[in-house]
Symmetry: C2
């Protein structure tokens, strides 16, 4: 009683952090708002930091995850790709399996 | 290729960190050296910090995990209990299951 097995999970690419809860959230907000600028604001993150996360993501995959439309930094708007949607979906199902794993372990520990 | 699902795992007691790789290592060194002082040194940790970890561990469980024998801080020596050994064993098997989980997820992701 009172004991709980817990943990965190992320995806690495060539030993560098590639995908985790923060990036998922950012992509979801870009999808919702159509804008990196607005998404960053929702996350209370600087636009610069959000931009860096996005360009790092785009560099690490073959298909880009975010398409930045032209028209100036705040003017053009951005959209996430099907590739990004697939990644978000995979990440969610992985987190579910991780939650199940942790619950099972917590029961074993008691 | 190059993608890997990874993560970390620990046990909480009443929402506070209770057991993870650092504490396992400390207990193992106490077992090996018979001394909190020597164990701390092996981990390049201050004696004070090691002592705090041990008293926090002992407070969180019904059966103590480390028995401190009398004879002064450096004179008496310490030993880990069967309870501690069971906990270390459980932790090792849990980490094995976690490694398997991560490998399975990494394969799914590719």
């Amino acid at each position: 009683m009172g004991y709980r097995v817990t943990g965190s999970l992320w995806i690495e690419f060539q030993n560098e952090r590639f995908f985790g809860p923060g990036r998922v959230e950012l992509l979801k907000y870009i999808d919702e708002t159509g804008s990196i600028y607005k998404a960053a604001k929702k996350m209370r993150m600087s636009y610069k930091k959000a931009w860096k996360m996005i360009s790092s993501l785009n560099e690490q995959v073959k298909q880009p995850l975010v398409i930045v439309k032209k028209g100036g930094e705040k003017g053009g708007g951005s959209a996430i790709t099907d590739e990004a949607r697939a990644l978000i979906g995979y990440h969610e199902s992985m987190r579910k399996r991780f939650t199940e794993f942790l619950e099972k372990e917590s029961k074993k520990f008691r």
